[in-house]
Symmetry: C2
């Protein structure tokens, strides 16, 4: 494990708490418009459209579009379902950018700051470049480089998303450690030769505690500080 040079990070759920952040932002935009929804459920329903929308791109059913574009389309559909009307284009765009304004889990900034001293820290998220940049500026995430879907023109878990990241860094896949709270992402990275670190985020989807996966990942940790400990950073 001494040859790891770069850590590639999943972001939504692994680095930031998208659920409470999107709920907070939805309440801030829609509350003043007279809406009184279950904002966490609103966040969940918005998020639920994310995987099918990406799969349409990954299967070649539509050309590559950035995640902001899909978030916008999915929001329009969700607003229709919820019978929420009367938002201006600017308000809909502002709400779409809720995903740019998410808070990191409490261990993240300290953990990344330690890890950055020893490793290249790259995002390997399906989020687009501006989303990652705006989120990082707001939250103080010290990335060395923004990689991921918009740079690779490919969404995880397609092989190209991982291959492009290692290639752009001029590293062998085994020199890259994929860090994610989602076993499927880690399994897809492992198939491309990446090492894997599972980070347990038991409340990503709410109060009900998620179990630890049984997969044999290279590391399994409770947060980024534990990961820094294990990697000697």
């Amino acid at each position: 494990m001494t040859d790891i040079r770069a850590l590639t990070f999943d972001v939504f759920g692994t680095v930031v708490d998208w659920r409470t952040g999107v709920a907070r932002e939805a309440a801030a935009v829609l509350g003043p418009k007279g809406q009184a929804l279950d904002w966490l459920a609103f966040a969940d329903r918005w998020r639920a459209q994310y995987a099918p929308a990406m799969e349409r791109v990954s299967r070649g059913q539509r050309p590559f579009v950035i995640l902001d574009e899909m978030h916008w389309e999915n929001l329009l559909e969700l607003l229709r379902q919820e019978r929420i009307e009367g938002l201006s284009d600017a308000e809909i765009e502002d709400l779409t950018h809720a995903w740019h304004r998410l808070d990191p889990w409490p261990d993240v900034v300290d953990g990344l700051t330690r890890l950055k001293r020893r490793f290249v820290l790259a995002t390997l998220s399906n989020g687009n470049i501006a989303l990652m940049v705006n989120m990082a500026k707001r939250a103080g995430l010290p990335w060395d480089v923004i990689l991921g879907a918009e740079v690779a023109r490919a969404y995880k878990p397609t092989p190209l998303a991982y291959d492009f990241a290692a290639s752009a860094l001029q590293l062998a896949p085994a020199q890259c450690l994929m860090v994610a709270a989602h076993p499927a992402d880690l399994r897809a990275a492992a198939e491309r030769g990446f090492r894997t670190a599972y980070v347990h985020r038991p409340h990503e989807f709410g109060a009900a505690e998620m179990p630890w996966p049984t997969d044999g990942f290279d590391y399994k940790v409770g947060n980024f500080l534990e990961l820094a400990d294990k990697l000697g950073a």
Copy 2:
């Protein structure tokens, strides 16, 4: 000028002193092999092949390749011209990566650190992603995002190189300030709607002092600290 959101930087010559850096690295690799060249002249000759090589890509005479690949090809040609033989593939690759190991001008790290508090700092260099990442890690350059040729699949000064950067940041071109020591780069950026900041690096090409350009750029400064002063950062 209050609406500037991102600063996009040329790197070779503007941020780092490529000439003395490449000369130092060439001496370190080739000196122990019994070579005793004028190392600064070696750096100049290597650099002189850079523009024509990029133009072959920009004119569509060959598919996009990253700058490291062109540096490697141009080095092979230069070694042939200089009748330098007996280098291993690993030594040639190591010397190719001289361009990853360049030092910033003395004002750069302090200037960028100030500018980063107020603006998104993006590379908009013809250097490839790994080159920019390795250089930044070694020199402590606090970029928010690596953009440029490899991300856009287009070399400056083609319009797409600039257009892609503004688009990836979801900014209007006029919200982007191109920072460069080279008037031609700034003029090309201005044609795409960018604002422009000329930074005077009079010794980029050696001891003979370069004159200040007569162009009417938005800013003309002697270093990054002056730029931070002018931008209120």
